[in-house]
């Protein structure tokens, strides 16, 4: 298994560092040339019959949003809990374009900062509400009009490479599941915390649209997680460390319309991993989110969203495995950053 993972890693590294497909950080554009259009892109605006200029096209990945919604969560005991959920999202997308024609390369860099949701009135045990928050997430995607890789032979050989390449990384994700746990030997249910310290995947995109917000990213990567269990409370925790050494596979499908009013983001991941309990375990999660901008007030978009998600969090420290399923319907009020 490890040998297989290492060989896969070597192939990916070779692909990413070779020739024009290399996923090196984008060089700074000279004098601003090559950056995406300025924020006041006039084509995003229309004129009303009364002469009022208003916005009709948005960048759904570049906005600060406050969300609220109704979520239905599986409570781990065979029934569902309906809960009010509020959230915050801070996202920003930057496009870099270099070259022209066949040699054109576009970098799409998505940042997502301090984003998450909390269910303030659902407290698994004690005073800690159920929440899911991420400190930082970035998605890089490099699109080339004529993708190829160069094999370092003599002379070097260039072969066609039908993928866009990228990187998906997540840092500092904290999840307090709705279902509390009772460790063996203790009598009272307590909240526990799943911390995704870091997760990163190298991705290949066979769809190669070159369009903002449209991609099909197949990834393989590493992740490091820590489960914090109460023994018997979180004041005296018990830790279980989980490391997936390039054994995490993921798929992410993103789609948005040209006007940015509709956005679909589907993500799935399966991560066999080694734990500090000296055994292999399996972690999986997936979400599908559909976001549709319905109205805008003073050009600030208000959208409705639907999201379904699933997490399989494996057993640890004697606590049983958890299937965490949720479905959410809500609205988001946003401030466009571009």
């Amino acid at each position: 298994m490890i040998r297989r993972a290492l060989s896969l890693l070597a192939v990916v590294v070779l692909l990413l560092i070779s020739g024009r497909a290399a996923a090196e950080p984008p060089p700074p554009p000279a004098d601003g040339a090559g950056e995406d259009p300025p924020a006041e892109d006039e084509s995003a605006y229309r004129m009303s019959e009364s002469g009022h200029r208003y916005r009709a096209r948005f960048d759904p990945a570049s906005r600060v949003s406050l969300t609220s919604g109704l979520t239905v969560v599986h409570d781990g005991e065979g029934s569902a809990v309906a809960a009010f959920e509020v959230g915050f999202r801070f996202g920003y997308r930057k496009l870099y374009s270099f070259g022209a024609g066949e040699g054109r390369v576009i970098w799409q860099v998505d940042h997502q900062l301090t984003s998450g949701t909390v269910r303030p009135f659902v407290r698994p045990a004690g005073g800690v509400p159920s929440l899911d928050a991420t400190l930082y997430r970035t998605t890089l995607l490099r699109h080339s009009e004529s993708p190829s890789i160069v094999l370092p032979m003599s002379p070097p050989m260039t072969i066609a490479f039908p993928f866009d390449v990228g990187l998906d990384a997540e840092l500092g994700r904290v999840n307090v599941p709705i279902t509390p746990v009772t460790l063996p030997g203790f009598g009272k249910k307590q909240p526990w915390v799943h911390i995704g310290v870091v997760r990163t995947s190298f991705t290949l995109d066979p769809w190669r649209t070159g369009q903002p917000g449209r991609s099909l990213a197949l990834g393989v990567g590493v992740r490091y997680d820590v489960d914090v269990y109460p023994a018997p409370t979180l004041d005296t925790p018990r830790f279980v460390h989980r490391i997936a050494p390039l054994t995490s596979g993921s798929v992410r499908f993103r789609y948005q319309t040209d006007d940015g009013l509709l956005m679909l983001d589907a993500f799935g991941e399966a991560a066999p991993h080694w734990t500090s309990e000296n055994q292999w375990a399996f972690l999986a999660n997936g979400t599908v989110r559909l976001d549709r901008t319905l109205i805008a007030i003073n050009d600030r978009p208000i959208s409705a969203f639907a999201e379904v998600g699933y997490k399989y969090l494996p057993e640890g420290a004697g606590a049983p495995a958890l299937h965490d399923v949720h479905g959410t319907l809500g609205v988001a009020a946003s401030l466009s950053l571009k």
Binding site: S50, H52, R55, A56, N298
Partner: protein, 397 residues
């Protein structure tokens, strides 16, 4: 001292009057007195209205505009020599004033939103007890003194009106029910520029420009001590803030239908004598309140004024034996105030009103109804004439 009675029999309608919006020449006549003259050509004949510049009893006539020209006595002689027809008249008056044949100007239009008033009323009061209206004490023997300061500023630039009420209150005798208000502010506007615009993205994007007639307001310290329904209680609302919607308002924002919804907090004393123990006594409350207000001045003179207020309050008690419980209080007031006379331009008005209140006391688990009527007079001070200048088409951005 001058007394004007409305409708006024002293109007000098038959006597020609100089126009306020035309130039006035001040000339000296043969007696050495200044007269005010306006000339115009009518059917090829020069006609001059000549008005004395002082009252027949002597003294200034007041409320005249500045003379556009001051000319020597020869000017009047020259007009006569040139064949001008000299017509005796009375001096011009500004908007909101009329002038008696004696020359004295008197106010005929009043803005009762700007005044200090004192009043006294007869207040027959009843309360429902055991399903029958009975007297709290002496239902027909109640009277009350009342006062208040009202300020209303119409902002032309903002196409808005600011209403302020200060130290408004009533005190009944002899049972000494006190109702008082320290300060209240209300804002309303008639903006033409959209407050915001809304774009819908169902099908083709479509823009809606929205200028909602919304306002807001607040009040500070409203007291009701010994209401007839619960004679032993004291209610002190410390502060209230509300948003308001004006579904109808006149062009000068004087008349309106205003619907308010807000939150308030204060203290309630089930036994009013406990306040002697200090402000730590009583129970805190906070809650929702709403009010629908109709304010109408009939005609353009401000002589007839109708007010209807329907209020609802739901205080929730925050501490004490009934913590968490609430009360539903409803009030309805309708009043008419008509100016029938003015003393030195200070209007005297007759006011009648009917009030009903349904009050709940969760401490005693009792709901009481009280009904009162008032009939009385008010003397108002410094009420200016109503202003009817049209508002600009758009407010300042």
């Amino acid at each position: 001292m001058a007394l004007a009675v409305f409708p006024a029999a002293a109007r000098a309608d038959a006597v020609p009057q100089l126009a306020w919006d035309k130039p006035v020449r001040c000339l000296t006549n043969d007696d050495g007195k200044v007269v005010r003259v306006q000339c115009e050509t009518r059917d090829k004949e020069l006609v001059c209205l000549v008005a004395p510049n002082e009252a027949t009893q002597g003294g200034e006539i007041g409320h005249t505009k500045e003379c556009d020209t001051i000319e020597p006595s020869e000017a009047l002689k020259k007009l006569v020599k040139d064949g001008a027809k000299m017509v005796p008249a009375i001096a011009e008056t500004p908007h909101g004033y009329a002038r008696a044949s004696t020359g004295r100007a008197y106010q005929v239009k009043f803005d009762l939103l700007n005044r200090i008033f004192l009043g006294a009323s007869w207040v027959p009061t009843f309360q429902l007890s055991e399903k029958a209206f009975t007297s709290p004490e002496a239902p027909f023997g109640r009277g009350q003194a009342e006062m208040g300061i009202h300020i209303s500023v119409l902002s032309h630039k903002g196409r808005s009106r600011h209403d302020i009420r200060i130290l408004e209150g009533t005190a009944t005798f002899a049972d000494l029910e006190l109702r008082g208000l320290l300060f209240a502010y209300d804002y309303q506007h008639l903006h033409r520029r959209p407050a915001f615009w809304l774009t819908s993205f169902f099908g083709h994007p479509r823009l809606y420009e929205v200028a909602p007639p919304l306002g807001w307001g607040f009040r500070i310290l409203r007291v009701n001590d010994r209401p007839p329904a619960f004679k032993s209680t004291l209610d002190m609302e410390f502060a209230e803030a509300h948003l308001a919607w004006n579904p109808w308002q006149s062009e000068d924002l004087y008349n309106h239908l205003r619907i308010e919804a807000g939150l308030d907090f204060g203290k309630f004393w089930e036994d009013r004598t406990e306040i002697a123990k200090g402000t730590g006594s009583g129970v805190w409350y906070a809650g929702f309140d709403a009010e629908a207000k109709l304010r109408v001045s009939l005609g353009d003179s401000g002589l007839h004024n109708v007010n209807v207020d329907l209020g609802y309050a739901r205080p929730t008690y925050l501490d004490g034996p009934k913590a968490g419980s609430g009360a539903n209080n409803i009030t309805l007031k309708a009043s008419y105030e008509g100016i029938f006379a003015a003393i030195n331009d200070q209007p005297l008005s007759f006011r009648v009103s009917a009030e009903g209140a349904s009050r709940e006391d969760p401490f005693a688990d009792v709901r009481n109804l009280e009904v009162r009527a008032t009939a009385g007079v008010r003397l108002s001070f410094w009420a200016p004439p109503r202003v009817f200048e049209p508002l600009p088409e758009f407010e300042d951005p």
